[in-house]
């Protein structure tokens, strides 16, 4: 067998290529804002999956990095007048820093406690977003300007912005793919499968956990920062615990520990929210039902089932 670390298998390359062509054509057929929303959430779910699916760590507070980055990026674009790529960079850096602070505390506990700690810190970030002077309280940061990309290309219309978002999110997802299939990713899998053994082999497990936590938070931040530029808005919804739950749902539904699962899960959940928006609180109930059914009957997720049928990792 060829080791997984020697480049991308043909099947994955083909899927990524088809996906890319599909996404390039997509904005000419569907509402670009909707497509951009799906892509941002796909990156967000892929970031969570890096931690949950490959690192075996359940963070129930990823909204903190997603929403935190969206606040910083919105502030950077609106108040500092930064161009989109710099604003996104600022937001992402902020998320990485937040991930480092929270992660270094959270990795001190395992399993269920880890989930509770991340959730509790995310709630703290939520309160900060509610109270800090620059976040605009209940209103959030509204009407964020769409500054020209690199100071040159106008982002006022949706199509140029769409290709910026496509480049950022697709690049992010490929980057995550690369991390998973690197030697670092192999060590992560070893830790997930058998932590005591990884320790006895001499790996500093907590350092690896922290590194994957920071990486995951960074990509979640990249997704959130990009979303703030699309919707020209940073709001409390993005930092609320229900957002953390939603991204876990996307990952679970698509298939934890699969490559394409989070993307599929994000597409399904965002589409569902779009069509069910008129039903109000029923959306929450339906999401809860999917959660329950997913955990009870469908733990592999959609792509996980496909991977089992085709006997290939997907």
């Amino acid at each position: 067998m060829v080791p997984e670390t020697t480049g991308m298998p043909k099947l994955h390359m083909a899927i990524f290529a088809i996906l890319f062509v599909f996404l390039v054509a997509l904005p000419f057929f569907v509402y670009p804002i909707f497509a951009m929303k799906v892509m941002c959430f796909a990156l967000f779910a892929a970031a969570l999956n890096l931690l949950l699916g490959f690192g075996g760590l359940l963070s129930f507070g990823h909204a903190a990095y997603f929403g935190g980055a969206s606040y910083v990026a919105a502030h950077a674009a609106k108040v500092w007048g930064l161009t989109p790529e710099l604003a996104v960079l600022c937001g992402t850096a902020a998320a990485a820093f937040l991930g480092l602070v929270i992660g270094s505390l959270a990795v001190r506990r395992q399993g269920i406690y880890f989930a509770m700690v991340t959730l509790a810190f995310a709630q703290m970030v939520y309160f900060l977003a509610l109270q800090l002077p620059f976040t605009g309280g209940e209103d959030g940061i509204q009407s964020v300007p769409r500054n020209p990309l690199f100071g040159v290309f106008s982002m006022e219309t949706n199509i140029p912005l769409y290709f910026f978002v496509l480049a950022v999110t697709f690049g992010g997802i490929l980057f995550i793919y690369r991390i998973v299939h690197s030697p670092f990713g192999q060590v992560l899998k070893a830790i997930r499968e058998n932590e005591p053994r990884a320790i006895s082999l001499g790996y500093d497990v907590n350092r690896y956990k922290l590194m994957v936590f920071v990486l995951s938070a960074t990509f979640a931040g990249l997704a959130g920062a990009t979303k703030s530029q699309v919707f020209q808005l940073a709001s409390l919804t993005d930092v609320h615990w229900s957002m953390s739950g939603e991204v876990v749902l996307m990952t679970l539904l698509g298939g934890m520990g699969t490559i394409f699962g989070p993307l599929a899960g994000a597409a399904i959940v965002v589409t569902m929210q779009n069509y069910l928006a008129t039903f109000g609180a029923w959306v929450t109930v339906i999401q809860g039902v999917i959660f329950v059914l997913g955990v009870l009957l469908f733990r592999e997720g959609l792509i996980g089932v496909l991977a089992r049928w085709f006997k290939r990792p997907l």
Binding site: L105, Y113, L119, A120, G245, A281, V285, V289, V295
Partner: protein, 295 residues
């Protein structure tokens, strides 16, 4: 009366009382979580939703059936506890052989369903629940005004906490429970019906949440969202205390309620986050929690 650091004693004591009341809810809820976690190894994310359900059941008993507060205090925990047993039998029991994280995910989904359903039928504005006649009014203690109902909440929650502690630590049933927590297979081999014990434990933990909900109904308005934010704070309380000991869960709950009350006096902006800050400090100094055993 003298002033302490420029704070009038009425304000200080008033906030301490408020803290003690919040602490009562933290204590009862984290106690329920600890009891459930001890035997099932599951963190019951639905705990907040079931607490809310307890308050709603009390409201429904009063408004649909005319059953008052005192009966509700007994009936609502029983009803929510029975509902919990139903959840345990039909769903949770299928997950015991899996990673514990699935239990968290399942109960999170259940919380979404329960909260969503109540929000659909009752909106989010909150429903009033009147303080029972016997406990309305209050007493002037000279240095502060003590509403009777609030005093009752503190007394009732302390009594239920003590009762639970006594039952688990001092009775034969509690001994079975503690033994099953240590080694369920061995206890089963001695002829004790462990699945039944697990079912009743979950039901009891949920009933505690329902009880807290009834206590809360006259203080806070009965609202579908009342449990959602509370449960996250209770998670932080549980992380701080560690779930190894029953008494630890209770004491941490009261203590953090008081700390929160004090913060509201001296630094109001920090009161929403003080518990999370304490959690961070505890994770740095004693990661297994104040009363926890090393993992």
């Amino acid at each position: 009366m003298f002033e302490l650091l420029g704070i009038p004693p009425q304000v200080l004591l008033g906030q301490l009382l408020l803290g003690l009341i919040n602490g009562s809810f933290y204590a009862v809820l984290s106690l329920g979580l600890a009891v459930i976690f001890g035997l099932l190894n599951i963190i019951n994310f639905a705990h907040g939703a079931l607490y809310m359900m307890g308050a709603f059941v009390a409201w429904m008993l009063l408004n649909y059936l005319g059953i008052g507060y005192w009966w509700a205090l007994i009936l609502a925990p029983l009803i929510t506890g029975a509902f919990g047993i139903l959840l345990e039998r039909t769903m949770l029991s299928r997950l015991y052989h899996l990673d514990h994280l699935y239990g968290l995910l399942l109960t999170f989904g259940l919380a979404l369903i329960i909260q969503g359903l109540f929000r659909n039928y009752y909106g989010i504005s909150g429903l009033p629940y009147r303080i029972p006649d016997l406990l309305s009014g209050g007493n002037n203690l000279g240095f502060m005004f003590l509403p009777n109902y609030r005093a009752w909440v503190v007394v009732a929650s302390a009594a239920i906490c003590f009762g639970t502690w006594f039952m688990i630590e001092k009775t034969r049933l509690g001994a079975y429970l503690r033994a099953a927590t240590e080694n369920p297979v061995l206890v089963g081999a001695f002829g004790i019906n462990v699945p039944l014990l697990i079912m009743l434990t979950y039901g009891f933990g949920v009933a505690l949440a329902g009880f807290a909900g009834v206590l809360a109904a006259p203080i806070y308005s009965v609202n579908p969202n009342m449990g959602a934010d509370l449960i996250i704070v209770v998670f932080a309380v549980v992380v701080i205390g560690g779930m190894g000991s029953i008494m630890g869960a209770i004491l941490t709950g009261y203590m953090l309620g008081l700390v929160e009350g004090l913060t509201r006096v001296f630094y109001p902006e920090g009161s929403a986050v003080v518990i999370f800050v304490i959690m961070a400090i505890v994770l740095l100094i004693k990661p297994e929690g104040l009363f926890g055993r090393a993992a």
